[in-house]
Amino acid sequence: MDGFSIKRLLRRPWLSILSLIIGGVMCYFLCYLANYRADQERQLEDLLENYEIQCVVTDRKGRKADDLRISSRYTDFITDEENGLGMFTDDIRFTKEFAASIEDTKWDLVGISNPNCDEYTDERFGGGYETEVEDFFDSEEMICLMSAKYYEEYKGTEIMLDVVDPYGLALSLGVGEVFLKVEGFHKGSDDKIFMPYKAAKKLCSRITHSISTDTVVFVLKDNSKVDEVYTAAETMLPKVDPDSYTPGYSLTIKDQVYKANGAKLRQDIARTGYLLTLISILGFCAGFLVGFLGTKGETRNYALMRTMGMRGFKLFLTVLFEQQILAFIACVIVGIITKRPLTAAVFFVCHALGTLIAVIKPVSARPTELLRDQE
């Protein structure tokens, strides 16, 4: 704007350096915090959208989540879109475990409704599977996955298993001979055989009509609907009651970690927000200070400019420019370094506002006061 203004600034290096440093440091801090908050907000968003709140069906006392021997009345309720929990659930994991043997070798035969049911098939836990069959886990066919080692051996063949449904410790119900076609392999231990849950359910029906499932886990579709799910589940699957002696099952929604993390993130975000406001206010104060110190003792010069015919408003702009150009440069640099141009701009505005208020008085001093001062 004015070469002379810049010369005057450069010839008062200490004040200029002070202004540059104060502006730069505070602006950097603000941008840093803004980045931090954006990061927290991203984490919160990620938590809200991607955190899997697991819901587990247990006995009424909440002691046991496996070997539930739950009937299809419950599993149907969970999958029912209209009258059950279907509209709230995602990734429903039913499992049914059998004991099986081929001649003298013992096997665990597990029916699973999707690969997330077991860590051996779940990629997120280092497991996995491979099969040519489309919708393997949704199939009702008598097919199975064996470990990689046995897959080599039995690939494409049908294995014959003697299957038993273990019922408690003492009792077990024989399902009988089961033929399963080996259609792929899983990345887990050798004694595991996985089959589709629906096929396993068919095996159960050889013994009883309805008892079909050992574990029931599902994930909430919408993390914000915890209370709705509890309400919808109330009649069939009430909340856990440790003192209960009634038979039946309960639903536990494991949202503690989710809630705690969410609360912590929200608190962090709020705190950072306060800090951001505080620093903006401090930026305003720093601007005021810079303006105050920068114009201190300069009134005579301003009056001189006015007597030479500089308009009041132009003087105001000139002084503002003199006092702000260094902070502006600092903010531009910080904005680029921190990739936060908008935050840096906000800081600059606060800073400039402080300066603006500080310079109003010295700038509007009447030029004739200069004459007065002489006498």
Binding site: N301, M308, G309
Partner: protein, 226 residues
């Protein structure tokens, strides 16, 4: 030809505690090519009159005519920038700008920059006897007389035809006073500008073309010497 004229001019300082009628119904005229002295004892309203003539204060009553036009109808900032330069007893220069930069300042306000401005400033500094090696000095490194001469050079460079000086020699020794006074006279007589000097120094006043005497805000005597 009258370039500046005060007509029935009054100025009153008003604040919470008091009202001071510093200038009362002053009527007087100033011509181009002449140097005027305004004398009077302390507090008689000389500085106030000068401020009003410079457009730094707005008259309470009456008017100032510049080239026949009422000053209140003109922009006073532009009037000072283009036509009327004010020189004070001291502190006429920006301490953080060099002599050269100071001399160029009022041209800069008028939008004259670069080579043209440099040449013009050099010419005027030369005319007031500032040497080339002093151009890069800062005002505190100059004597009081030199400072006043730089201020005069600045007014000359900007082409202001009215020079209003408030005790320009107040801080100077005899030799320097002499230099400055000669310069002001030269401005009037050779350059054809209108020079108005407020002073206590009656010897100085007597060298001017006309003397106005003020007493308690009233112009009591109009004495044309030459």
């Amino acid at each position: 030809m009258e370039i500046l004229r005060a007509e029935d001019l009054s100025f009153t300082y008003k604040n919470k505690y008091q009202t001071v009628n510093a200038v009362k119904n002053v009527t007087c005229g100033f011509e181009k090519g002449k140097a005027y002295a305004i004398v009077g004892k302390s507090g008689s309203g000389k500085t106030t009159l000068l401020s009003v003539l410079a457009g730094l204060e707005v008259p309470t009553e009456g008017k100032v005519l510049f080239d026949g036009q009422d000053l209140s109808k003109l922009n006073r900032d532009t009037y000072r920038r283009d036509h009327a330069a004010v020189i004070y007893q001291s502190y006429n220069l920006f301490p953080l700008l060099t002599v050269m930069e100071n001399a160029r300042y009022s041209m800069r306000l008028k939008g004259i920059k670069g080579e043209a401005a440099a040449k013009r400033a050099e010419q005027e500094l030369d005319a007031v006897g500032i040497k080339k090696e002093q151009y890069r000095r800062f005002p505190p490194q100059l004597s009081g007389g030199e400072q006043q001469r730089v201020a005069i050079a600045r007014a000359l460079a900007a082409g202001n035809e009215i020079i209003l000086a408030d005790e320009p020699t107040g801080n100077l020794d005899v030799a320097n006073s002499e230099l400055v006074v000669n310069m002001l006279l030269e401005l009037a007589h050779k350059d054809g500008r209108c020079v108005i000097v407020v002073t206590h120094d009656l010897d100085l006043a007597e060298r001017m073309d006309a003397i106005y005497t003020m007493c308690d805000g009233i112009m009591t005597m109009e004495n044309t010497l030459k």
